[in-house]
Symmetry: C2
Subunit: 425 residues, 2 copies
Amino acid sequence: MLKDLSKEELKELESSLRREYEALKAEGLKLDISRGKPSKEQLDLSMDLFTVLTPLSDMISEDGFDTRNYGCLTGILEAKKLLADLLDTKPENVIVFGGSSLNVMYDTVSKAMIHGIMGSTPWCRLPVVKFLCPVPGYDRHFSVTESFGIEMVNVPMTDDGPDMDLVEKLVSEDGSVKGIWCVPKYSNPGGTVYSDETVRRFAALKPAAKDFRIFWDNAYNVHHLDVDRPREILNILEEAEKAGNPDIVYEFGSFSKITFPGSSISAMAASEANVADVTSVMKNQIIGHNKIAMLMHARYLKDKAGILNHMRKHAAILKPKFDIVEETLTEELGGLGIGTWSHPEGGYFVSFNTLPGLAKKVVGMMKEAGVTMTGAGATYPYKKDPEDSNIRIAPSYATVEELKKAIRIFALVVKLSSAEALLDR
Amino acid sequence: MLKDLSKEELKELESSLRREYEALKAEGLKLDISRGKPSKEQLDLSMDLFTVLTPLSDMISEDGFDTRNYGCLTGILEAKKLLADLLDTKPENVIVFGGSSLNVMYDTVSKAMIHGIMGSTPWCRLPVVKFLCPVPGYDRHFSVTESFGIEMVNVPMTDDGPDMDLVEKLVSEDGSVKGIWCVPKYSNPGGTVYSDETVRRFAALKPAAKDFRIFWDNAYNVHHLDVDRPREILNILEEAEKAGNPDIVYEFGSFSKITFPGSSISAMAASEANVADVTSVMKNQIIGHNKIAMLMHARYLKDKAGILNHMRKHAAILKPKFDIVEETLTEELGGLGIGTWSHPEGGYFVSFNTLPGLAKKVVGMMKEAGVTMTGAGATYPYKKDPEDSNIRIAPSYATVEELKKAIRIFALVVKLSSAEALLDR
């Protein structure tokens, strides 16, 4: 443990790490492990998406729409089936949207703000609207709610998902709590997989606000690092129905990290009543989303087996990168007592916790050494990590060589800043 | 003139037309001239859009983005250039969006409702927000504003565009007037081309509300029926800048009726300050729109010349259809004094006016005879045509044979209902 070293030992270590760090800075590196972006190699996996429509004999959907023309508000049948396969739900519960599930979530909040949910008072007319935010969480979720002036309330994550005692208390007691952001599987950034009990407790919530909704961003449902040993979660739509709460959840998903981010198709899955409510507003917004992208995805990925087969290829590229992170951190920081990190079985991130008060400093020093990381604090609402300790590592985009280098530097910087902090005590 | 016939003559005519109509009804036709949809033949023109990316060597944009990955909020450079060509503006004034310009317009109103425009009070906090609606106009524009509870005020169209005396008066005197819907070229449904004076007067408006915006839906800028004799309008962005009013207008456009409706790309074009304002909100909504669709369109259509070359092929299909409408109506109704209609040089519609009080009846009788038309009243806010006389004819989707039949039936129904009305006097 670093804290067990004597002051002199610490000082010596600090000096030697400092020299190493200054030498690194002089190298003028340019590395990026900030965002959960697929690598070029992963993007190359899906290039046949473009040839699936050639030769171009037939652009008609299973339900008879010419995908090249106007119409079909909620999406063509085969796209609903494919997205139902992705989210383990039924086609009739699916609305198909464009390439960005973030946009769908934003629009869903926007609709609630202006039109209300199922006839309830539009949120923009209420004095206070609150969202629960399991932390650490996904920065872009928090930006959405912040942009609408929605007050965000932190809820700590446990190994089984959000602290459900707190969620139940807040949701049932406070009618201004209108929603909660959830990434139920391989969560961003912690890699947490919600336990069956957590999902059941979500499904059985008794909200004070009848227009409370769970925003269930099932972004990584099939993004296993080992496709043969997938983690599975209970189906929230089914559990909610069983609990007599069918309308409590909006589920979201997309093919962004399966084919091409931003150019794929996405979905909301929800109860029949929610689908009708969302559609009633959506019909004034658009005539129909990109049906050609829908057709391409349906014909290319085909079904659940096709999706999993494709994810196996992604895993073959991603798993070695996650292994590098795990191995390097263990090798460099194991037993030192200056950091803990997640050991995800899927998704796109490793979540790292420094000693309290060091995250900003570490990310800043990484920047100076030429390595861009997600901003410290980004995993918390208002970018305020109360402990200033959480850092998100995104191993996917960098090459293996770049990643090795970046994580070694990261470990060095964590050691150096921790040594400095311990000296300052 | 029908009105000059004696009662007996009218009665005889009515009986004979009625017999003809009843015989038609018995045929069980199924024709549709309701929506401005391209025909299959037109869609077939753009099938090479899918092969432009194969062989798949390079998916990188001119400004260095891998179009297959996240990023690039406002669109890749070549798409901005192409949309600038479409709208006769500059790439730096363009934000590129997904396939639906209607969605862009909806989102623009939505943003103003929730976030306000350039720091002004969000419209949802104001007691009354009004939009001016030149009539007859585009039904989906009116649905957007109606869905937000915005009060719509009719402004009559003239041959040169909206009645600008009235527009100037309302905009300068009433601070609750926040916008106006315009289709400045080959307007929907009238086919009107705004005169230079009209555009200049729009550019020089002195609104009481500093967050007043002209919603300039330039949907048909290159949709000439004779590409060698195009109608041109003044550039509103340039005129607004000259008039010291650079921020007064949001311009919209898309490739929906050029390649594939709903699956193409669209744009907002606006001043630098407007672009910055819109982008500041948009950054919370989406990471980036479909860049692969952008790349496909840029590589396929290339530039203004490429766009016009493509539009020539559309015109070759559309012009004969518009000719059928014009010739049939002239032949059947010319000189009878029971209807007037537009003679568009571009766009997608013919606007027809019956004798007052007959539009709903005519559309209903068409339906009974198996011909679907746009609902009477749809060209007015709240679907209320005060004269009940305007009917929109959309000749594009039907085949030439279907269209001939549909317009003959239409002329018959107009004659029959007019004869009945004249008998009822």
